[in-house]
Every structure is written in C-alpha cells, then in structure tokens.
C-alpha cells in the first residue's frame, strides 16, 4: 500500500477498488459480510461481544455442527440431502458411552463409532443410487433407524467417565494472547480444510460438482457417478460420526435424545453458507461460516439476556428464507 505510483491506474488501490468478486464466490462473501456485520452490531450493543474469545467460543461450541455441515455440503452439492446425521450423532454418543462403560479402550470405542457411522452412510448411499430412491426418503429411513438403534442400546442417558475422554474434553489449548480453544476445534477446522481441498482440487471433488450440475451429463461424460454418489453419503456418515464423537466430548454422555433436529441445523448452515440446494454450487468454507452465523445468533441472545431462546429459531428461519430468495434471484439472472 505504500507504493505511490505516478499513474493512478494499475495502482494497488485502483485494483482493489475495481475488484469485482466472481459471481461464484458471491454467496460465500455475502455470508462473511453478514457475520462481520453481526459482530459489528454486537460489539456496539454489548460489552465484550467483539472479543476474539467470543469468536473462538463459536468454534468451541459448534465444532460438531461444523463437522455435520462439512459432510452435508458434499451431499447437497450432488443435489441430495442427508436427514440421518442428527440421529447418527445421537447413535455415536450412545455407542461411545456404552462401549466405554463396558470397558472398551477409548480408541476402540472411537473406531466403533466411526465404523458404524460410515457404514450407515454407505448403505444409505447404495440404496439411493442402485434402487434410485429419493435421498429424502432413504435418509429419512436412516434417521429413524439410527434413532431406534440408540434406544435399543440404552433408553437411559449413559454418563462418560473414561479418563481419556475426560482429559480431551477438559483440555484447553492456549493460543498466543491468552485465548483458548479445545482440541475439538482443531478437528473441525482440519476437516474443513481437507474437505475444501478435496472438493476443489481432486477429480472426486469435481465429479461431486458435476453430478450436482447435471447427473445425466456426468454419466455420459464417463465420470464415476455411482461410486461418487455412494461416497458422498459415506462421507456424510463419517463426518456425522466424527461430529458425534465431538458431541460426546462436549456433553460427556451418551443419550438417545441428543441432537434431535440437528440435521436441520446442518442443512440450514449449508444453505446460509451459500450452497444451492439443487446442487452443483457452493463451498465448504461457506458452510462453516453458516454454522458460525447460527452460533452468533445464539451468542446474541445470551448476551442480551432478556430475549427468549426461541428468538434463535425465528432469526434462523428468517435468515434461511432471505438466503434462499437471494440464491433464487442470483441464479435466475443467469441465462
């Protein structure tokens, strides 16, 4: 910025001013602007709102939701939907708590959770692709199935007393400046980074977008449509089970009624993050920002103190509506 060139054109400032973001990134940038705007308003209205720790706490409190949103982004990008993830989270917490209660080593418990979640996703994907069943119905079945399995294992809430789990849950990582995060945040952020790379830079990722753009064309172009479609549901199941592990660290219990309706929060986050529900357009980073927006709304309400927590739902509902309409308007403009 210190370069003072004689010609005004071509200067850094000129380039910045004339910069127009590619329309592809516009939805994500909109979400980012919204997030920053919310923090601006919050910072002015409430003391301590604009503190970096508040931002970090968004990650801490929503790490599991970020995981779900990552998996959901893959699915929605292909034009599908996964309603089973909330139940898979609950199932994961129950499996983790139950196996630990029965003396499994923590690593085995975690592995069991991941295997079950991924397997459920894979089976759903196979059903969706090979029997040509609507993702909505197939994952709805998965949702009931996973929730039912929870009750089969235990009707009561099972507390987690395992030392390793306890240690990880209590562990605080101190960042420079005295701010703290939990290990779960690192898991979530790494997952976002990997997913973003996979979607943008691998053939698998491009195939995901291609299927969302036009599945029949993708097939005729010789892309591995079957494999990819099954894989996205497997990924969603895997992400949901990781989310379940993070959630059990957060709650330190396994309970069949955990995470009721969380799949809808994940879908809301993905849509607010700018991913088209019809598929083919969107970014994982956007979904993460979507989760943060949802988290910020909650923070708003807790900072205010006078508002009922139901205002969260009203705010999310309105935001969702606004974003879907914006998406509609933007896609309609294109020929």
């Amino acid at each position: 910025m210190t370069t003072t060139t004689a010609t005004p054109t071509g200067s850094t400032w000129g380039r910045i001013r004339s910069y127009a973001p590619t329309s592809r990134y516009l939805p994500v940038l909109t979400t980012l602007a919204l997030l920053i705007g919310m923090f601006g308003v919050g910072g002015i209205r409430y003391d301590g709102f604009a503190d970096p720790q508040v931002v970090l706490n968004l990650f801490v409190d929503n790490a599991f939701l970020i995981m779900l949103a990552v998996g959901m982004t893959f699915v929605i990008l292909t034009g599908g939907i996964d309603l089973s993830v909330g139940s898979v989270v609950a199932l994961s917490t129950v499996i983790a708590a139950w196996t630990l209660e029965h003396g499994w080593p923590p690593v085995a418990a975690a592995l069991a959770v991941l295997v079950v979640g991924t397997l459920l996703g894979t089976v759903t994907g196979l059903v969706i692709h090979y029997f040509d069943i609507q993702p909505f119905i197939a994952t709805l079945a998965g949702m009931f199935l996973a929730r039912g399995l929870c009750f089969l294992i235990s009707v009561e809430s099972i507390p987690i007393h395992d030392k390793t789990f306890f240690d990880i849950a209590a562990n605080q990582i101190t960042l420079p400046g005295g701010y703290t995060i939990t290990p779960t945040v690192i898991v979530a952020v790494v997952a976002v980074a990997i997913a973003a790379w996979v979607l943008a830079r691998t053939r698998f990722g491009r195939t995901v977008y291609a299927i969302g753009g036009n599945e029949a064309s993708a097939m005729l172009m010789g892309l591995p449509v079957a494999r990819t479609k099954v894989a996205v549901y497997a990924i969603s199941g895997f992400c949901a089970s990781v989310g379940g592990l993070l959630f059990s660290l957060y709650m330190l219990s396994g309970y069949s009624l955990h995470a009721v309706g969380m799949e809808l929060d994940a879908i809301a986050a993905v849509v607010i993050g700018g991913t088209l529900l019809t598929g083919g357009r969107g970014y994982v980073v956007g979904s993460m920002l979507g989760v943060l927006v949802l988290g910020t709304i909650q923070t708003f309400i807790s900072f205010d103190g006078t508002l009922s927590s139901w205002w969260t739902k009203i705010a999310i509902g309105s935001l969702l509506l606004v974003f879907v309409v914006i998406q509609r308007v933007m896609t309609r403009r294109q020929p």
């Binding site: 329309s23 830079r201 691998t202 491009r206 195939t207 291609a210 969302g212 036009n214 294109q334």
Partner: protein, 531 residues
Amino acid sequence: MTQMDVQAPDEGAPREQPDAVITMEDISIAFGGVQALDGVSLRLFPGEVHALMGENGAGKSTLIKALTGVYSIDSGRIVVGGEEHLFSTPAESLAAGISTVYQEVNLVPNLTVAENMFLGREPRRLGGIDSRAMNRQARATLQRLGIDVDPASVLGEHPIAVQQLVAIARAVDVECRVLILDEPTSSLDAGEAEKLFDVMRRLREQGVAILFVSHFLEQVYEVADRMTILRNGRLVEERLVKDTPRLQLVKLMIGRELETLERLEKETATSTDRAERPVLTAVGISRRGSLEATDLELYEGEVIGIAGLLGSGRTELARLLFGADTADHGELRVRSTKRRFRSPRHAIDRKIAFTSENRRAEGVVEDLTVADNMLLALQASRGWLRPIPQGTRARLVKEYMEALDIRPADPNALMRNLSGGNQQKVLLARWLMTQPEVLILDEPTRGIDIGAKAQIQQLVSDLSDRGLSVIFISAELEEVLRLADRLVVMRDRRKIDERHNAGVTVSDVMEIIAGEATAEAAVAEQEESRA
C-alpha cells in the same frame, strides 16, 4: 473388406486414404420382435465428414448407439483401426477413440469451460488438480479449433451454440479418431452452425473421421463429403455427396412420400381474398427484453409465415399473441374487440391455439396416452366439472387419428413411444378439437422426418382453405415460403419486413434479413445523431 467393396460404389473410396478407420459390417439389432437394424454396413475414413441420412425411424440413432456401445449388436462385426471390437459400454467405445456429441449438450453448466473439457482426466500436480495447466491446455485446444472462449469462464453463462462447441472440444481432446455428431445443429441458428462447420472442417484437416447426423439437407451439402443412406433399418446406399442431387437424395431417403411434397409445391401460396376485418390484430405490442413494438394483422383463412433467425423475436411474438407472456405495451384485438391476455387461458377462450417450439417440455405429456394428450385442451376449455362423455371421447380421438394419419393408430399408446412427427400431429389434434379460429404454430416441423413434415404442411394448407387463420413460424425458409400467404420477416426482436408472398424466393428473404441489416443500422445511427 472384400464384402464391403461389393456393396459400395468403387469411386466412393478416397484414393489417398484407402484404410477405413471404422468398418461396420452386416450389423443387425432387434428390439423384441422389431428389427431396428437389418444387415447395415457403414465405413468411415479418416479426414472425411460422413453424413448419416434417413428419416426418423430409419435406424440412424440405433446405428450410432451400436457404435458407441449403448446397444450391443445381435450380429455383424465392428472393426476399429484394424481390430475387431465388441463394445458393451460407452466407456469401451470412448477408449477406442470414438467420441460422441449429442443433440443436447451433455456438459455440466455449473463448472468452467476448462473443467468441463477435462472432467475425469484433469492434469494433476502434487496429488491435486493443476488448474493452471488445465486452463492452458484447454486454451490451446480451443485455439486449435478456432473457438474463442475463455476457458476459465463458467460454461452456463455461454449460449447453447458455444456450449456445443465446447462439447466438441472436449470430445476431440480425448485422443479422438472418430467424432460422432448427432444432430448438433438442431438448436443453432445459421451463423452458429457455420462456426460449427468451421470446427468440423478443421478437424477433418487433422485427419479425424466425422459422422454427422442432421435433418437439414442444406447443411449436409455444405459440409459432408460422403453419405450413407438408411431406410427402415436397411442400408439404401453409400454415395458421394457431390454426385448426388438433392432430389435424388430425398427420393432415396423417403421414396413414396415425396409425391405429397411435390403436390404441395404446385399449389403454393394461393392468395386468398381478404375478409374485411382481421381476426387478430396486434398494435405495437412489446415486451422488455424480448420484443420491440410490433404490429400484426391476421385475416380469416390466411397463413402468415414468420421467418427469422433464432432469437429474432419470432417465438417471443407468438408467446405474446397467446398470452404465454404478457405484453408491456400495445394492444391486442380479437375481431376488433380489445382484449388483454394475461394468461393462455384468456387466449384459448378467444379461440386461439398455440403449439410451442419446445414440443418435449411445453407440449406433450409423455406418460399419458395419445387419447389423453389429445383431449387435454378440449377438457380444459370445458372446465374440469364437465367431463367429456366416453362415447364422444372415443369418436373424437378416432376421427382425428384418422384425419391426421397418426401412427401407431392406437389411442392407448403412451405418448413417449411416438415419433416426433406423430407427437406433433397429436398436438395439432389437441388444438383442432377445440375448434380454434387462430392457430399459432411455432416450429411445428422441427426435428421430424420429411414424410411427416409434408403431411403437416399439407394439413396447414387444408385448414387455411377451410377458413382457419394460421401463424406459421419456422426456421426453414422454404417451408415458410411454401405455406405463407403473407410473409413477415423478423430480426433483432422486431418486424423488419412484411410482404405478400408472391414470387418471393429463399434468397430474397435472406437478403431481407441480411441486407436490411445495414439499412436499419443507418437509420438507427441517424436517429441517434439527431437525438
């Protein structure tokens, strides 16, 4: 090969390239009891454009699908580059160097041009896709083909014609020896098709064998070197294009139905006496972004032919007249009463009927029977509470099936199983049942075979003799000139010419479209300088 030589005329083989890249011999395919292909042979030489000709149902697409591995053959053999192949999936055919570009663009609109060209085989670096190298290679390929597109732009932002060219660029970039173009021009206008031909010629120079399927004879004569003609699943002949006069080709393709065409030719443009008042009048109707202020008067028993290129506003005008879109300005009069059509319902109530150019999406209901499809409009105009009695239904359907010669003559056949020509006839029947006074036909003969085309043209001319007023829109100028009493020429979303259709030739119309361009521009310039 020796077997082939018996069938093909000797002068057919280009001397400089004696080896065919593809030889299909004695191919037969049957579906159920129906023999779709019966001992058909085809050979393709490197560096030639080979047209595959035939009516709908002649077996063109079946032959192509046998070559691309979509269908497996019952008997015969396919030799590609000297090796015998048995393709059972499209991927195998692709691996043998055979690429296909279909009528619809089979690309994904949400990714960039380069990504579309390289999907599934992107250049990689450090385990990830190297998008810079990809864009560079894409640009090189596009340049080689003379296609001027930014590889980093999103495909969906380009017009269909450009997308089609990108599809070809993708096809030839996969080390392709044979390129199959299945009706690539059906949605392109003349200029765009010309661009496509440029690309085809370049590829031919590079030694690619191109198999070209098109319904437009003009295009075949413009770009093809040789052709194979099929009829009813059998090989008729392989010929050089330059040695085959058009009339002979048409005879080879259809045989018998040609008489209908010729008969029609003789009774061209019988100028009807005008009734005093027009049936339908449009005064300065316009709609932002689709049509500029346009006047039109349609008299009883008259056929107005609208000529113009794709995007000239011809379809937009039709949609405004039918109320499918609403006009921003101007007024419509039906028998000199001012009307405002806010929806097609209002137009239908005033006895105006419209068949869309988009037969698939805006016309037929594929999963209903022929009878149900026919009765849709009549039932709608009666209202849902007054069902048509069974007897009347059966009588009406039978009557129209016979009158329009719809095949198969089975009212319970599913619409999706009918050929394009017969679907179009069902649509016509649908509207004729409502006894309209004005019939607006937008591209009624697009993508249907010559026989059915002739029948539909005959029908239009009969209907107008009986007093029906028709607006006939078509991209084929010959057809418009053959049927129209009055000719309206459109360009750039406005009417640029209107004249009595007496002694007007195709080249006259082309001159109007092209020549007036300069005159109009001059006028516009003057107006601008005055303002």
